[in-house]
């Protein structure tokens, strides 16, 4: 199994000289099985560049086929769809898996951005065959030669994490999520950090944490939301993002040997991310959890 990063930035794309190394595109990860089967995770602006590469590999002649797993439908995870060229070629086949929200059908959510008032590209310009599969947490399903498990993440309006097992390896994407310290998965705006927990909230968080720890056992490589550094998280725990420390703790609890810092904050320049890479490389000598900083264009072979 090969994992390739096409977009690693959170919130919004950040062009400019200070993101040349790690990349400024919003989330998109390519998972390629040994037999060539393609699974794409999230459709941030990074999917535009992936699309250009796919055009030269079967998708240009309408013979492409892929599954797209969406963690959640906040803009930065779906905004690349209209610019994914293989969608506009007859014959290509895509299955889009995501959890619908806000009482809307998944297709309505994905195509909402194609309304005349938002984009000059109507959704009926899509020529590929699209299947929309509405999923939820705690499911297990098969995509070709891969077995996928879904789990609930602690993010406003809920995000879904994915565990993908194929070729004798296990890969997991855990983004976007806060640690399970406060309940953030409600359907209302969270203007400030939640106050003390009720018993029910504690139970909910405990259950989510337990499920996450269980699903991550035997994972070989995890991609984790590390939007914040520790001092930033303290100020904004209600935003639904984590720190590298939270990710390392999770690896230690679940026995995950290797993780990538992912969903970098827009303000995290190459210089800052280089600093984090050095710091966490040293730290891994104590924790024995290998930490890399996800970088656009980087391939990880599992």
């Amino acid at each position: 199994m090969k994992v390739k990063f096409w977009g690693v930035r959170g919130s919004y794309p950040v062009p400019g000289i200070s993101t040349n190394k790690y990349g400024g595109n919003t989330p998109c990860i390519e998972v390629r099985l040994n037999n060539g089967q393609l699974i794409i995770i999230d459709a941030g602006t990074g999917i535009r560049m992936l699309g250009q590469e796919l055009i030269n590999n079967g998708f240009g002649s309408g013979k492409g086929r892929a599954d797209i797993l969406i963690s959640h439908t906040h803009w930065d995870h779906i905004q690349g769809f209209p610019f994914f060229k293989p969608l506009f070629i007859d014959g290509n086949q895509f299955t889009i898996h995501a959890r619908p929200s806000n009482h809307l059908h998944l297709k309505e959510i994905i195509s909402y951005q194609n309304k005349d008032c938002y984009l000059p590209i109507p959704f009926n310009a899509v020529k590929a065959n699209l299947d929309f599969v509405e999923i939820d947490a705690d499911q297990k399903f098969r995509i070709g030669d891969a077995v996928v498990k879904t789990f609930k993440l602690n993010h406003p309006n809920i995000a879904i994490g994915y565990r993908i097992e194929a070729d004798g390896k296990v890969f997991a994407v855990v983004s976007d999520t806060a640690p399970f310290e406060n309940v953030l998965i409600g359907e209302q705006f969270i203007p400030k950090p939640p106050s003390t927990l009720t018993e029910e909230e504690e139970r909910t968080l405990g259950e989510l944490q337990f499920k996450l720890n269980s699903v991550l056992e035997d994972v070989d490589f995890m991609v984790y939301d590390t939007f914040f550094q520790v001092n930033e998280y303290v100020k904004n725990p209600h935003w639904g993002h984590s720190t590298p420390e939270h990710g390392i703790d999770l690896c230690l609890e679940s026995g995950v040997p290797r993780m990538a810092l992912f969903h970098h904050a827009p303000g995290n320049t190459d210089e800052i991310l280089d600093g984090m890479q050095n710091y966490y490389r040293l730290k891994s000598k104590e924790t024995h959890v290998e930490v890399i900083v996800a970088r656009e264009g980087e391939e990880i072979i599992l």
């Binding site: 950040v14 062009p15 400019g16 400024g24 905004q79 690349g80 610019f83 806000n102 309006n157 935003w239």
Partner: protein
């Protein structure tokens, strides 16, 4: 007035080394009037960078006021708005102006990008600043010593709003996201841009690519040059570059047309400042 470019790219933000010179952020132009009032045209991702700079002004303390003029509501022109930090600071007053969109009203469309499925903000009612969204009527706006008039331009199925901002008898015209009928500006567009000191115009395409992309709602560099000449405009700013154009391509377009156009051609570039 002082004009600074924060986003010059069309359609979608394009990070990467190929866009370092001219910039990969979607449209946002900042205007500081003689009296140091802030006007922003369009709220693409460029507004995120501008936002951080404005925190050093009274907008950072919740004591500021700013006017945002929207050309239209395609996402590349509004996607930065939820990340414009002054909207989260109580006390600020944010005026947003735009034309009445055909399919709905301006507030509903701006709110649409913040609904629960797409954003953790859940709607503009959660902005802390005082937000005032005004749909334009035929009357010119008067914004702190400047006069702002507008005109509607065809943009693939919808209309975009062109703005003319005048201060002390000098005029800046912003005409982005437009495809003039047949690729040639109509008389109303020529009149609207007439004798402006600076015209910022959609130059999404080269002439060759435009020929292949008619109906996309955007203009070629040649259309823009022709309009500038007919309207007696001396300085034309190239704007809203195709996301497929690298710095090399943009530089080549500039070189090719700068001499032959007979006017001062200025390729918009993030950070570029023009004084009028």
């Amino acid at each position: 007035m002082e004009i600074t470019f924060y986003g010059v790219r069309g359609t979608v933000a394009v990070p990467g080394p190929e866009t370092n010179e001219f910039g990969g952020n979607t449209p946002c132009v900042h205007i500081r009037t003689k009296k140091e009032y802030n006007i922003i045209i369009d709220a693409g991702t460029g507004i995120c960078g501008l936002s951080r700079k404005l925190l050093a002004t009274p907008l950072g303390k919740g004591q500021g006021e700013i006017s945002i003029l929207l050309s239209h509501t395609h996402l590349d022109h509004i996607q930065g708005f939820p990340f414009f930090i002054p909207v989260f600071i109580p006390g600020n007053r944010i005026q947003v102006y735009g034309s009445h969109p055909e399919e709905s009203d301006l507030k509903t469309i701006l709110d649409g990008q913040l609904q629960a499925s797409f954003s953790p903000i859940y709607g503009m009612s959660n902005f802390a600043a005082t937000l005032d969204i005004k749909e334009l009527d035929a009357q010119p706006l008067s914004i702190d010593g400047t006069t702002v008039t507008h005109s509607m331009m065809p943009h693939r199925g919808i209309k975009s709003t062109a703005y003319r901002i005048e201060e002390d008898g000098k005029a800046l015209v912003y005409m982005s996201d437009v495809e003039h009928e047949g690729g040639h500006a109509g008389e109303n567009a020529v009149q609207f841009a007439q004798s402006a000191q600076i015209l910022i115009h959609d130059t999404h395409f080269t002439a060759e690519d435009y020929a292949k992309s008619r109906g996309s709602g955007h203009s070629s560099i040649e259309t823009a040059i022709e309009l500038a000449k007919r309207a007696n405009v001396r300085q034309l700013v190239m704007f809203h570059y195709s996301p497929d154009y690298s710095d090399d391509v943009i530089r080549e377009i500039y070189r090719r047309y700068n001499d032959q156009s007979g006017l001062t051609l200025i390729p918009a570039q993030e950070g570029l400042k023009l004084i009028l």
